[in-house]
């Protein structure tokens, strides 16, 4: 009986539940996708590159599950507040508390179950799309990858069912404690008059002070390291809260002081609404500003990290290809791309030594990055005499680096001897030629580098004893790039979807918060209509009011991102790479939620006649 009533009640609040669902469904889908990416067993064994991606997705899963828990907790309390009055009525007509509590729990679980069904389907589609994109980007086949992966399905269901069971149990105990009267009057509560701000100048200063510390820590993260890592989030969070709580009421008050503006049209109504709304939402808004920073930061971080795979590879490798005994096939590939610089060296190889020709090295010293000055230079010419100590030749640090650049596969496997030409001609050993090639843009010819690496696989067994092309590899620029790029692409998708999930959850929280005030507003808007305010004017007032509520956390959140991205300078070169893309994505989602909120609000308070 009560259950039947409850289902009817559920139907009536469809709209609210729909919003609740969207956030939940998105987070379930992303959660599943992360899990599938990180748990697919056969897929792990198959490829070491993928192994790295999986760690990235596992980290993503952990972060997502923490945030999702809070989201579930919040939405569940919102759910309860939506239904309180109805539960009060049930109790009034004689339902027992136990029954009502059971109804609430069942309701929560049903909602979670429905969201799980839809979310998992969406998650499977998402996994398909993301794995396909990753495959394309990395140029590898995910032959063993299962899009429908049962362990991932299982753990997703376990996580969400357990989490919503916990949250609904907590809220159930709260429900048990509240009296019928509380329940019945739960929708009558008024926001309360915003209190006269006291000592707010001090608070604002304090907020700016904390933010200043946080931003400084973010900005100088490279120097501060661990201290910065701890200070930045704490100070920024604290600053955000203090600033919002102190500043928002002041801003509206200032507005209202301007009588010329305030007493024009229904501005006094709009600012009055804002005055109440901002002061009751200031905590939520501060939280949202932080979440925006996190989500936009995650998306931006992903972009920057992916870009970094390209820029950082050039730091360590001045030559794009290093070819041993290049044959006609290799040369054909090289001929097809615009090579800027091409160097050839000879070496002789026996069991004990690697011989190199001093004249050749001095004639065309290769570019290296100096380990001290960090600049790209060519080493100074080698001296006539090179000392030998403990069986190895002593060369300058620059030449030490250069030798590895010339001979990445073999340098270090035996003693290197740089000798004059006559001596070289006499030396015993197999002669090998090495070709270094450099283009203006490594990233423009990825396919060619890959082809060259594959061709070289036939050469390595002759050079390195016991080389098995299946399991062994030689350090080349392309090989390193491939690993780096795989991690970066994984991080990119992880950051992107993590950000997306955060953003959806956050925006839907803001939406609930605003819409839950709408019922109180129905009468106000009706009064205004009766007093002769045009519908258009009311619509504008409403849109403006909600815009400002959305605006504040948006601005501060983006500011956090702008400053915060600086933090990544200590792991990458261009943390601001394509920041605008992430900002556009953020604006699109956030803006979408804004318009949706306005639309729903309008439907509630300004019904068509």
């Amino acid at each position: 009986m009560i259950l039947k009533l409850a289902i009817n009640g559920l139907k009536k609040k469809q709209r609210d539940y729909l919003i609740l669902f969207t956030g939940l469904i998105i987070s379930i889908a992303v959660f599943y996708m992360f899990l599938t990416m990180s748990l697919n067993k056969e897929f792990i064994l198959q490829n070491s590159v993928i192994n790295n991606i999986q760690v990235v997705f596992l980290v993503g899963t952990v972060m997502l599950s923490i945030i999702t828990f809070f989201y579930l907790f919040y939405t569940n309390s919102f759910l309860l507040s939506l239904r309180k009055k109805e539960y009060g009525l049930y109790e009034l007509i004689g339902a027992k508390k136990v029954q009502i509590r059971r109804v609430f729990q069942i309701e929560t679980m049903v909602i979670t179950a429905i969201s799980l069904a839809i979310g998992l389907i969406l998650g499977i589609i998402l996994s398909r799309v993301v794995s396909w994109l990753l495959m394309n980007q990395l140029n590898i086949e995910f032959t063993q990858f299962k899009v429908v992966y049962l362990p991932a399905v299982f753990w997703t269901m376990v996580y969400f069912l357990v989490a919503s069971f916990i949250t609904s149990t907590v809220h159930n105990t709260l429900l048990a404690k509240s009296s019928i009267i509380d329940l019945l009057h739960s929708d009558m509560h008024n926001d309360g008059i915003p209190s006269e701000p006291k000592g707010s100048a001090l608070q604002i200063l304090l907020g700016i002070f904390f933010l200043g510390i946080g931003y400084t820590a973010l900005y100088f993260m490279e120097q501060l390291r661990f201290i910065g890592l701890f200070t930045a989030p704490i100070a920024t969070t604290l600053g955000t809260y203090v600033l919002f709580v102190a500043l928002l009421p002041i801003i509206v008050r200032k507005w209202k002081r301007n009588k010329r503006v305030n007493f024009k049209g229904i501005n006094s109504f709009t600012s009055g609404q804002l005055n109440f709304r901002l002061s009751s939402l200031k905590w939520v808004l501060a939280t949202i500003a932080l979440l925006i920073a996190l989500s936009a930061g995650a998306i931006a971080g992903g972009f920057a990290f992916k870009n970094d795979a390209f820029t950082s590879i050039d730091e360590h490798w001045q030559y794009d290809a290093t070819l041993y005994n290049p044959g006609a096939a290799e040369m054909a590939v090289l001929d097809s791309i615009p090579v800027e610089e091409q160097l050839t060296f000879r070496m002789k190889l026996n069991d004990e030594f690697i011989y190199l020709v001093r004249e050749e090295l001095n004639a065309t010293p290769p570019l290296i990055r100096d380990m001290v000055t960090y600049e790209v230079v060519r080493p100074d010419p080698l001296p006539e005499e090179l000392e030998i100590e403990d069986g190895s030749q002593i060369v300058s640090d620059q030449w030490f680096t250069a030798l590895y650049a010339i001979n990445p596969a073999l340098e270090g496997t035996r003693s290197t001897r740089i000798v004059p030409l006559e001596e070289y001609e006499l030396a015993e050993g197999e002669e090998i030629s090495i070709l270094l090639a450099r283009t203006a843009d490594f990233s423009a010819h990825i396919e060619e580098w890959q082809k060259l690496d594959e061709l070289q696989l036939d050469v390595y067994p002759g050079l390195v004893t016991g080389f098995d092309p299946k399991t062994d590899s030689v350090a080349t620029k392309y090989a390193q790039f491939k690993t780096q790029y795989a991690i970066a692409s994984g991080t990119f998708f992880m950051g992107f979807f993590l950000g997306l999930a955060f953003l959806t959850m956050m925006a839907s929280i803001l939406m609930f918060k605003i819409l839950s005030g709408a019922n109180n507003d129905i009468r106000r808007y009706d009064s205004l209509r009766k007093l002769g305010v045009r519908r258009r004017v009311l619509e504008n007032s409403l849109a403006r009011e909600i815009f400002i509520v959305f605006l504040f956390p948006g601005i501060l959140g983006l500011l956090h991102v702008f400053v915060g991205m600086r933090m990544f300078t200590f792991i990458m070169d261009e943390p601001y790479y394509r920041l605008w893309v992430s900002i556009l994505i953020f604006l699109a989602i956030y803006g979408g939620y804004y318009f949706f909120t306005v639309h729903l609000y309008r439907k509630i308070v300004l019904p068509k006649h």
Binding site: N190, F269, G272, R529, K530, G532, V533
Partner: protein, 257 residues
Amino acid sequence: MKTILKAKNVTKTYGKKGSAAYTAIRDLSFSMKEGEFIGIMGPSGSGKTTLLNMVATLDPLTNGEITIDGIVVSSKTENQLADFRSQKLGFIFQDFNLLENMTVFENVALPLSLQNKAVKTIQSRVHQVAGVLGIRDIIEKYPEELSGGQKQRTAIVRALIHEPALLLADEPTGALDSKNAAILLDTLAELNRNQQVSVLMVTHDPRSASYCSRLLFINDGQLDRELFQTGTREEFHQEILAVLGDLERRPVAGVRI
């Protein structure tokens, strides 16, 4: 004296023509002179609110014509009506409908702000009218902080601040105790007498009705009887009670078509 309100053959049918249609007001005509204080009485469901809402331009007529202050309102667009209301009409609602998010000052200034009056004008006008009704001391408070009587006076100030041609009130004393009801009606009657404010008020309560200069009794959506105040208020009160007793003996029913 000038006619402020004229209703001619007004009909209001709710719902679609046909099966579920319900005629709440049927071919009703009356007119009101400037400075009159008219009360509308009648049993529950007789169409009082419906009539008032049509006069207030909140509800469209099905048939007929309503003219207020020389303007035929029944043929205007929604926006024109909104502007008309904000300029020509004043409202007192049953539960006052003050906007809780605004101070008393902002509440009463709203009708003037809507007409984009200069801040100076607004301030002096609010000051003046607030003085007359004795709410000057609470002008910076929020409605939540007011007593019932203060809310009521605020509502009157808001209804009168822009000098409307016609003041409309639907059971303004419905939510008040008898003492506050008396204060409200005294105030209205005084404003009506001294400042020639025209008032149209719906009421159930015979005592409230006795403040009016004329009463329209509505039954089944039609004008049933009219009553003029001739003697004292107490005599008028007795007269109203007599009429009501008379009317009560007849069955109350809606009209189906």
